[in-house]
């Protein structure tokens, strides 16, 4: 899947650039992407080290184990083989819910590592985790509220409830489509 997405995106982009006679523009855009990858990694590094450090403290205090035991049963409904990943999955979903984006990513990466079986292939649980993450269930969509406030909205919080309902619908769609598609994509 990834090779097709990457392939189609780059070929389409390059084709449009060449059609416009701007070959250098295509290369510039690609290089710029690489540069933003480096910038992003560096800006991620701080929060990432912080949350990985805190998670390790919680782990050694035995709290990660407790959380995993607590969440194993409820998580089984959507991710039957979560196992060790139960704790980081819970932390990731909780961080997303409370709008802590920079804590959610390290927990999510940890969850993926625990779910991984080292065969270079996404398991059903990994796909479910990605799909659930893309439904963006959040208590308060803080960045959107910030933009609305900046754009002089009289009621910036008006959108909170519809956003939440739409996110829940997206999460349900993620669960259902994962269940169905998991049988199609081997």
């Amino acid at each position: 899947m990834m090779k097709w997405i990457f392939g189609i995106m780059t070929v389409m982009g390059i084709a449009v650039f060449i059609a416009r006679g701007d070959g250098a523009g295509a290369l510039n855009a690609l290089v710029k992407g690489g540069e933003s990858a480096v910038e992003l990694s560096i800006s991620l590094a701080g929060a990432y080290m912080l949350w990985m450090g805190i998670m390790k403290i919680a782990d050694e205090a035995g709290l990660i184990n407790k959380l995993a035991k607590l969440m194993k049963k409820p998580l089984r409904l959507v991710m039957p083989d979560a196992g060790d990943a139960a704790a980081p999955v819970t932390l990731n979903l909780a961080a997303n819910f409370f709008g802590l984006g920079n804590a959610a990513t390290p927990f999510g990466i940890e969850a993926m590592k625990k779910l991984d079986r080292g065969d270079g292939r996404a398991s059903n649980d990994m796909a479910m985790f990605i799909a659930l993450n893309s439904s963006a269930i959040e208590l308060l969509p803080t960045s959107v509220i910030a933009v609305r406030t900046a754009c002089c909205s009289a009621s910036p919080y008006d959108v909170v409830l519809p956003t939440f309902i739409a996110s829940v619908a997206a999460a349900l769609a993620a669960i259902i489509s994962c269940r169905l598609l998991g049988r199609v994509f081997k």
């Binding site: 990457f6 990858a37 590094a45 990466i109 996404a122 993620a174």
Partner: protein
């Protein structure tokens, strides 16, 4: 929002006190955890470079605008405002670009207009699927992503559709 501002640092503080009572060497544990972060980020970097490169190329080429132009008859028939179509098309690729576009829409149509509220709900209830997928699958070196992206995109489409219906 106030409560969250206090709750998270308070939880971290309580965690450290609890760990100290449990006789955990909190300093060493923190450093050990942080040390795992650095090689992990380096492992993700090439995946990010590939995905962000492709996204940047697609954005700069104007292919997104071309695509929204082609889709125009369909989106018009569905009753989706033309201002929202590029936002829907761009949302799975770039968070910063969709926030910038949201700002443009809110400035042009007004934050409390129907289009403005619809755009806000769209951005809030969907996620940058291609970016998160690159990071999360990159972390474990998974390239056979199976149904993850289709399911994520279906979920995003359902979220967008419900969002649009709710602000109608």
């Amino acid at each position: 929002m106030k409560a969250a501002n206090i709750a998270v640092p308070a939880l971290v503080g309580i965690l450290i006190v609890y760990a100290l009572i449990k006789k955990v060497n909190v300093y060493k544990a923190f450093v050990d955890g942080a040390a795992e972060a650095v090689p992990q980020l380096i492992a993700i970097l090439p995946y990010l470079a590939a995905m962000l490169g492709a996204i940047s190329l697609l954005r700069a080429s104007g292919a997104v605008e071309f695509f929204t132009g082609v889709m125009r008859p369909v989106t018009d028939r569905l009753g989706i405002s033309p201002a929202l179509v590029p936002l829907i098309a761009l949302r799975p690729f770039s968070g910063s670009a969709s926030l910038a576009m949201l700002k443009d829409i809110l400035t042009e149509f007004g934050a409390d207009s129907r289009v403005g509220r619809a755009a806000s709900v769209l951005v809030g209830s969907t996620e940058t699927v291609f970016y998160t997928t690159a990071v999360y699958f990159g972390a474990v070196g998974v390239t056979k992503t199976r149904h993850a992206i289709p399911a994520a995109l279906i979920s995003g489409a359902v979220g967008a559709a419900v969002g649009l219906l709710l602000v109608r």
